[in-house]
Amino acid sequence: MNEVTRILSWIMERNPELVEPPAADDDLIERRLIDSLAFVDFLYFLEELSGKEVDMATVDVDDFRSVEAIRRRFLS
């Protein structure tokens, strides 16, 4: 399973009402698929996926806005 698929699985697990995974450019924050508490856990998950620590001082909201933005910022 690649990183993007694992991110989509993570989102689906936490949003059981979803019938299909979000598209790569769907706004995850606008759709409230990752709220503030989930975000804390998501950062740890992202660190596990990328093997790198996420420095909060160097990121902004847009880095987490979509699966594609996450892939570009943290997994490329």
């Binding site: 503030s36 508490l37 804390v40 856990d41 740890y44 909060m56 001082a57 990121v59 902004d60 909201v61 847009d62």
Partner: protein
């Protein structure tokens, strides 16, 4: 509303179960990443209802962030220290991005109130705002 005084409110409701789940999964790292040493000491001293207290503190940080209404900026919980004050309402001390945003917004003072019951904790932050850099500390009590 009192003319010339800008009061803004933030509120947050936290599921104690969700905080419990994060603590169980992430353990000590969750606490050290998001809570200061002073906050952790206070939490360790809570004999009963530590997870409820922790949930309330998370709620207070989130309520304060909502009150400050960041746009595209991330405000880490670590930048908002929420400490009990011996029987009085808890107080918040801001640093880093939270302090910068508060300065930019013209925050003069902030009061926080936290409550929890059963599976839920709730927190409210009420801030008095003036012009950026303006001292409004005398307005809040």
């Amino acid at each position: 509303m009192i003319e010339g005084i800008d009061i803004r409110v933030g509120v947050d409701l936290v599921s104690v179960q969700r905080i419990t789940d994060i603590v169980e999964r992430r353990g000590a790292r969750f606490l050290t990443d998001h809570f200061s040493a002073a906050e952790r000491r206070q939490l360790e001293a809570v004999a009963n209802g530590r997870l409820e207290t922790l949930s309330g503190r998370v709620g207070a940080k989130e309520a304060l962030i909502k009150m400050l209404a960041p746009e595209d900026q991330m405000v880490p919980w670590r930048d908002i220290e929420v400490l009990a004050q011996g029987g009085r309402a808890p107080a918040a001390r801001l640093s880093g991005a939270a302090a910068e945003l508060a300065q930019a917004r013209g925050l003069g003072s902030v009061d926080i109130s936290i409550s929890h019951e059963g599976l839920w904790a709730v927190a409210v932050a009420v801030g008095v705002f003036g012009s950026p850099g303006r001292d409004t500390k005398g307005w809040d009590r």
